[in-house]
């Protein structure tokens, strides 16, 4: 087949053969990867500015202006975390929950509402930054987002509406997931809500362990929910809580901005900045230390069992650990406030240091269970999904200790707000840890979601794997080194103060960008431009599940 023909028609993809669930999943995936490209370009723009004056020769002058630079920095995490990661994770889970529970998705219409809302919301936030240069950063530290002497009021309102739309989409996802899990159809026809709740929170795993220690029969031999569904159930609790907090903060900012628009100056000191910071970080940290870690652990368990075709090692312990992570994730936010002298020392010590250190345990446990499950099934073929899974495990193996080290009152004094935390922890956790896990899931789900469409090139997939892995680790490492050299994370350096580290980070960042372009090319060549458009056309088959046995219904 000629290049042009493949570009238009793909390998053997037929969008008309997809059902409603498959189509809605692919729509969100497409948007997620487009946003990923945008976020990679934004990251490279900021990196090039920090390289120093040499970059002025190849970049427009306006990128070096603080208004422009910080508006990019404001939307970079919004586009990356919500526009890309949330979409990808939500799409995968709205496909996986029906697949694993053998039940239909509660509502395909709601799933469409979710990806549309998140896409439009992300676009609103991006437009607010691009047009009005609204730049309070994602931290929204009070009272900066309501500072109308620095920012446009209209820009702020558009930004907050964007965030609100994303959160409304998030609520839609949550409702869809729980409505599907609690639906008493198929294998859950005879289950009670109590049984599903006990299983969802991982309590059955804990009771099984207790009974084993007491020499009794297990509480249940066949838990109501599969382990990955338990992880999705648990992580979604944190998704709900963080959406409430982010939406609450957005409403507060909106009240001040709308009042300003009406000529009323509300007193910003009515809100205690440190208390607000505590509440906001409690919610925001549920994204990083709550749902991400739980969703990732659940994804590892699922991938390990699908790749090996065997039962998960120590399944009851894994179930119980998910319950423990629930409590841990609610009590760790103070590690973001170790540099705040007004924060009570006991909160720093207990929440910021001690409880946070538990994450080493819960994530270490997930790593151990996944590795042993794989090891017990050897020899395994080194498939793309296995490669990406190992890449994801490496990412979290690097990133979690990098954060635990900084969640310490001694280290935090010299590392807080530096490039260490955003490079060695956040970027490696997201780009290497999370995304490689998601790529692994994508390769596992690809035949299911596309009806066994042939991938255009496995060589391109391999090249993507290595470029993404090396680029991600390299960029994070040099950002981290710049942090150790004193480079701050939310700062503009226009004189190339950290030239070498930033140049190296930009080099590895370019690898990431090229890797994304190769991946996108590979996918487009597989589904074809016609197929790509077809994904967004209404599905003829309205089925909201994947290959269900009619007897289960």
């Amino acid at each position: 087949m000629s290049f042009a023909k493949t570009l238009i028609h793909g390998t053997d993809f037929n969008h008309e053969g997809l059902n409603a669930l498959q189509k809605v999943t692919l729509r969100a995936v497409v948007m997620a990867f487009l946003f990923y490209g945008l976020v990679a370009i934004e990251g490279m723009i900021m990196r090039m500015v920090e390289v120093g004056p040499q970059a002025k020769a190849i970049m427009p002058e306006q990128f070096f202006h603080p208004d422009h630079f910080f508006s990019i920095m404001t939307v970079h995490p919004i586009v990356g975390i919500f526009g890309s990661t949330y979409q990808l994770v939500f799409a995968a889970f709205m496909f996986l929950v029906p697949y694993l529970t053998k039940k239909p998705l509660y509502s395909v219409k709601l799933a469409n509402f979710v990806w549309l809302n998140i896409t439009i919301g992300t676009a609103f936030a991006w437009i607010a930054a691009f047009v009005w240069q609204y730049a309070p950063l994602y931290t929204l530290y009070w009272p900066l987002p309501a500072d109308t002497t620095q920012f446009s009021t209209i820009g702020g309102i558009v930004f907050i509406i964007g965030i609100a739309l994303i959160m409304v989409g998030t609520f839609g996802f949550i409702y869809n997931i729980y409505a599907t899990i609690f639906a008493r159809v198929g294998v859950h026809k005879n289950k009670t809500t109590k049984e599903l709740l006990i299983s969802g929170f991982g309590i059955d795993g804990m009771l099984n362990l207790i009974n084993k220690l007491r020499g009794k029969e297990p509480y249940t031999k066949e838990p109501a929910l599969a382990l990955p569904v338990v992880a999705i159930f648990r992580g979604t609790v944190d998704t709900f809580l963080d959406a409430i907090v982010i939406l609450g903060a957005g409403i507060l900012v909106l009240v001040y901005l709308v009042a300003d628009l009406g000529g009323i100056q509300l007193d910003v000191t009515a809100i205690d900045a440190l208390l607000y910071k505590n509440l906001f970080w409690w919610g925001l940290d549920l994204v990083a230390d709550g749902l991400v870690l739980i969703y990732v652990a659940g994804s590892w368990y699922l991938l390990a069992t699908l790749i090996t075709g065997q039962k998960l090692f120590m399944e009851n312990v894994a179930r119980a650990a998910l319950m423990l992570e629930l409590l841990v994730s609610w009590m760790v936010w103070s590690h973001h406030l170790l540099g705040d002298q007004g924060q009570p020392e006991m909160m720093k010590l207990i929440s910021g240091e001690m409880v946070t250190a538990f994450e080493l345990l819960t994530q270490g446990l997930a790593l151990f269970i996944t590795l042993v499950t794989l090891w017990k099934a050897r020899p395994l073929k080194m498939t793309m999904e296995l490669k990406y899974l190992l890449g994801g495990l490496s990412g979290f193996g690097l990133a979690v200790p990098a954060a635990i080290i900084q969640a310490d009152m001694g280290m935090n004094r010299v590392l807080h707000n530096t490039q260490w935390i955003i490079g060695a922890h956040v970027h490696i956790a997201l780009i290497v840890g999370l995304y490689m896990t998601l790529y692994s899931a994508l390769f596992v789900l690809w035949p299911l979601v596309t009806n066994n469409t042939k991938l255009y090139s496995s060589k391109l997939a391999n090249t993507h794997f290595w470029m993404h892995l090396i680029g991600g680790i390299g960029m994070g490492a040099f950002m981290g080194m710049a942090g150790l050299d004193g480079m701050l994370r939310r700062h503009l350096y226009v004189n190339g103060e950290f030239h070498f580290d930033m140049l190296m980070a930009a080099g590895f960042g370019t690898m990431l960008l090229v890797a994304w372009a190769l991946f996108l090319f590979n996918i487009i060549m597989s589904v074809g431009l016609k197929g790509l458009i077809g994904i967004f056309l209404p599905a003829k088959d309205k089925t909201a599940s994947y290959v269900l046995d009619p007897e289960d219904m």
């Binding site: 009272p143 007004g342 080493l360 296995l386 680790i473 004193g486």
Partner: protein
């Protein structure tokens, strides 16, 4: 082992974390290679409970180690009961510092209390050496106390800077120069170690 300034601590941290990173990547690479082999044997068998004990020891031991090896931790926790050699008060408003003096000179070993007040936004307070490396920093919140005790053990000249983003107004609109950076603000003299 006692770290007397951030340079010593961060140099140790760099080596320790690099070794760890090399180890974890090697383990995963070795693991991945052996997953494909039929006759691969475990080099070491790690019993589950020992592994968990290792993680607990790592998580807790790390804090015990830093508490004993980094002097500013205990000083920070007990700062309201400790005496100091001098107190310097700073005010920040509309991205401008009101400084206690144009330049401060500190004698080696002196413990200084830095007391910073913000009148509007959240800022930061940080001291940076001439090579750009950070000596220390804290957040500066409006409406709550922001004070820190610091003892200087090395000669150096420090720039003062806000370590928290407080909007684009902290930079020159056209050149992007940081307007909150106060160059060569604090000098430590009289130590045997450090820049002359």
């Amino acid at each position: 082992m006692i770290f007397t300034n951030s340079l010593e601590l961060l140099a140790f941290h760099w080596v320790a974390y690099t070794l760890y990173a090399a180890m974890i990547l090697s383990v995963i690479a070795w693991f991945g290679y052996n997953l494909t082999r039929e006759k691969a044997k475990s080099v070491v068998r790690i019993p589950f409970y020992w592994y968990m004990a290792f993680l607990v020891a790592g998580g807790v031991g790390h804090h015990i180690f830093t508490y004993n090896a980094i002097p500013w931790v205990s000083q920070d926790i007990g700062r309201h009961e400790l005496s100091n050699d001098a107190t310097y008060k700073f005010i920040i408003e509309k991205h401008k510092w009101t400084l206690p003096a144009k330049k401060i000179t500190v004698q080696c070993g002196e413990t200084i209390n830095f007391d910073v007040e913000s009148k509007d936004l959240i800022y930061g307070f940080g001291l940076f050496r001439q090579d750009g490396s950070m000596a220390m920093q804290m957040q500066v919140n409006p409406g709550t106390p922001n004070d820190i005790l610091w003892t200087f053990h090395h000669n150096a000249v420090f720039d003062l800077d806000s370590t928290e983003y407080s909007g684009p107004a902290m930079y020159d609109k056209h050149t992007g120069e940081n307007l909150m950076r106060v160059k060569r603000f604090l000098e430590v003299v009289g130590c045997e170690k450090g820049a002359k």
